[in-house]
């Protein structure tokens, strides 16, 4: 088990390096392969309507004319130990992990992302608890009472949940529960440390809306998984031992049925941590998702680069956690 974890950790470090290479290539190599020269490339790092001097200065500052391996080395070094930028008047230090300076705010990218992260974290984790508990329990009950009214009703709702986009359910819920009946008025993010109650109350609507989409998916997956597992031979063995039905279902059935759910859950959560874009935009929550949208709208390349790396990092880490958890669940994976 220990060797398994160490092996996976080494693999993860390797994967992160590959991720950084690919991200670097997207931002610095692809434009050149597409025929841009370093001046044109530099233009994109200056913001809108730049002067020729500014562009030349940026080209020099970022060292865009240097060989690629030097540039990549600098890029990696910036992330690990930080970087110094010469800005004519003097040198500014960008502490690690350095993804450069935002055009918009003239501030290092990383601290901005850090300040937006708690919003996304609160949203994603709260919603994921909701959908995991809700989806899995509905799925299990549906599977055990296959064909019943509960099964057909909840699977019908689940179909709606999978099909309805968040900008629809989100706006409807805002209209109903925030304006018409102001149960959750004025949905804005209040940090947990400031006021935990208000934090939770203001996040209830986004949580439910986001969880609804995923719970629907998880209910269907759990139902299918449970139906399959409960027809396995080892379930018959468990019954033949005289175990109470609850033990058979939870310990022997659900445990196997959950393994694929855990995989998907890790991926979904990792993806959401990189920004729950539609939910954040719908509810105007200033998390990483909204950060990303604004970065793209402003063509703020350092910000886009930073958020890309961070999102990829979350997915890689989620993968690692899933793998380890998988090995805990299923002994056959450990060797």
């Amino acid at each position: 088990m220990i060797t398994f974890i160490i092996r996976r950790l080494i693999g993860t470090v390797f994967l992160l390096i590959v991720v950084s290479m690919i991200t670097f290539a997207i931002f610095f190599l692809l434009p050149r392969l597409a025929g841009q020269n370093t001046y044109q490339l530099a233009t994109q790092y200056v913001g809108r309507n730049p002067t020729r001097e500014a562009v030349l200065q940026v080209e020099q500052q970022l060292g865009l004319a240097d060989p690629l391996y030097l540039q990549y080395g600098r890029f990696l070094r910036g992330i690990v130990v930080g970087a110094h930028y010469n800005s004519g008047t003097g040198s500014t230090y960008c502490p690690p992990p350095c993804f450069g300076y935002s055009f918009r705010s003239q501030q290092p990218v990383w601290p901005q992302m850090v300040s937006d992260l708690p919003v996304t974290l609160s949203l994603a984790i709260g919603a994921s608890v909701l959908w995991l508990v809700g989806g899995v329990s509905i799925g299990v009950i549906s599977a055990l009472r296959r064909g019943s009214f509960f099964d057909r009703f909840s699977m019908g709702v689940a179909l709606a949940g999978v099909s309805l986009p968040i900008f629809f359910t989100g706006l409807i819920s805002l209209e109903l529960f925030s304006y018409k009946w102001p149960i959750f008025p004025n949905v804005t993010y209040v940090s947990f440390t400031t006021n935990p109650l208000l934090w939770a109350r203001n996040l209830v609507l986004p949580w439910i809306v986001l969880a609804f989409l995923y719970a629907a998916l998880y209910a269907r997956l759990t139902r299918a998984g449970m139906l399959e597992t409960m027809s396995e031979d080892y379930i018959r063995t468990a019954r033949a031992k005289g175990l109470p039905e609850r033990t058979v279902i939870v310990k022997h059935g659900l445990r196997s049925a959950l393994t694929p759910i855990v995989t998907i859950f890790g991926m979904d959560l990792g993806l959401l941590l990189g920004g729950a874009i539609i939910t954040e935009v719908t509810f105007s929550l200033h998390g990483l998702g909204l950060f990303t949208v604004m970065a793209i709208q402003n063509q703020d390349l350092p910000e886009i680069l930073g958020v890309t790396m961070l999102a990829a990092f979350f997915i890689v880490i989620a993968n690692l956690v899933v793998d380890i958890f998988y090995a805990v669940l299923d002994p056959r994976v450990r060797y």
């Binding site: 396995e232 031979d233 080892y234 018959r236 063995t237 468990a238 019954r239 033949a240 031992k241 005289g242 175990l243 109470p244 033990t247 022997h252 445990r255 196997s256 669940l329 299923d330 002994p331 056959r332």
Partner: protein, 357 residues
Amino acid sequence: MPGALLEVEDLRIHFPTQDGLVKSVDGVSFSLERGRTLGIVGESGSGKSVTSLGIMGLHQGTQARITGHIRLGGEELVGALPARIRELRGDKMAMIFQDPLSSLHPYFTVGNQIIEAHRVHHPEATKQQARQRAVDMLGRVGIPEPAVRVDDYPHQFSGGMRQRVMIAMALVNDPELLIADEPTTALDVTVQAQILDLISDLQAEFGSAVIMITHDLGVVAELSDDILVMYAGRVAEYGSAADIFARPGHPYTWGLLASMPRMDRERLTRLVPIPGTPPSLIRVPPGCPFHPRCRYGHLNGGRSETEVPELRDTEDPGHRVACHLTAAERTRQWALLAAGEVPEDVREMVPRGGVEA
């Protein structure tokens, strides 16, 4: 038979489906005493597994309609409370299955699975006691280094060893009845004999009654005191193993015997297959369910196509056969077959001399 451990009387297990009523078991009766072994023989779909699952109460929660009587130690199981059957299951009666790999849970160590089986019926046992019991049982079924292997997972065992684990788990509570559903089918030939020996040794040691379900007459020949031959959910023949091997009375039993390779016969004895396939259990043929495949149906003037044969006594006590043929006719036909006479349809299938080549 008073005092029998297990009495099954006119057992019927029917499953309503969209295509019709599946009569998997249709009027089966037998009894089994402590320490004895009953072999239930038949092709796939003859109802032998459904019967055994019915005894274990494992049709609960399905659509199965069960009527008749199953009495274990005098206690009626048909219609008994599910909670009561659960108490008996794994304690008084236990079962081992065909495929030991899929029958063991892949996520738990074999020790944990055996401990679980023990503690559910002995809640007073501590974890240490149950674990010691599991190690003992693994040792008794012939697993080397049981104290170490108890912490291994099923995938770390070979097929034969897995079946030993299943047997250890089934016997952990000293059951009075052990049902083995094709316990050797999924195993290598070399391992099959070991497992059968193990079951019969343990039976002698524990004094359990055993029901051995198989399609392999060789297996029952070795182990069984009594044999029940099932066809299309009904009993074709029932009697002591000695009688059935000496004087089999049903053409289906003959078919099973003649289609089995025998080491003690001359090499050139032709194997005689049973023509056709087992019938659908939704539309069981009228009359004798075996008649579409029977070579001797023409000998009784069409009765077998209209009239269901009753299970009747033969001259051997306790040996019963469900066949329209007269006793004399049966004796004559079996004598011919046993002497190596090959039925005409088989002769036509393979030209003479084909076997030597």
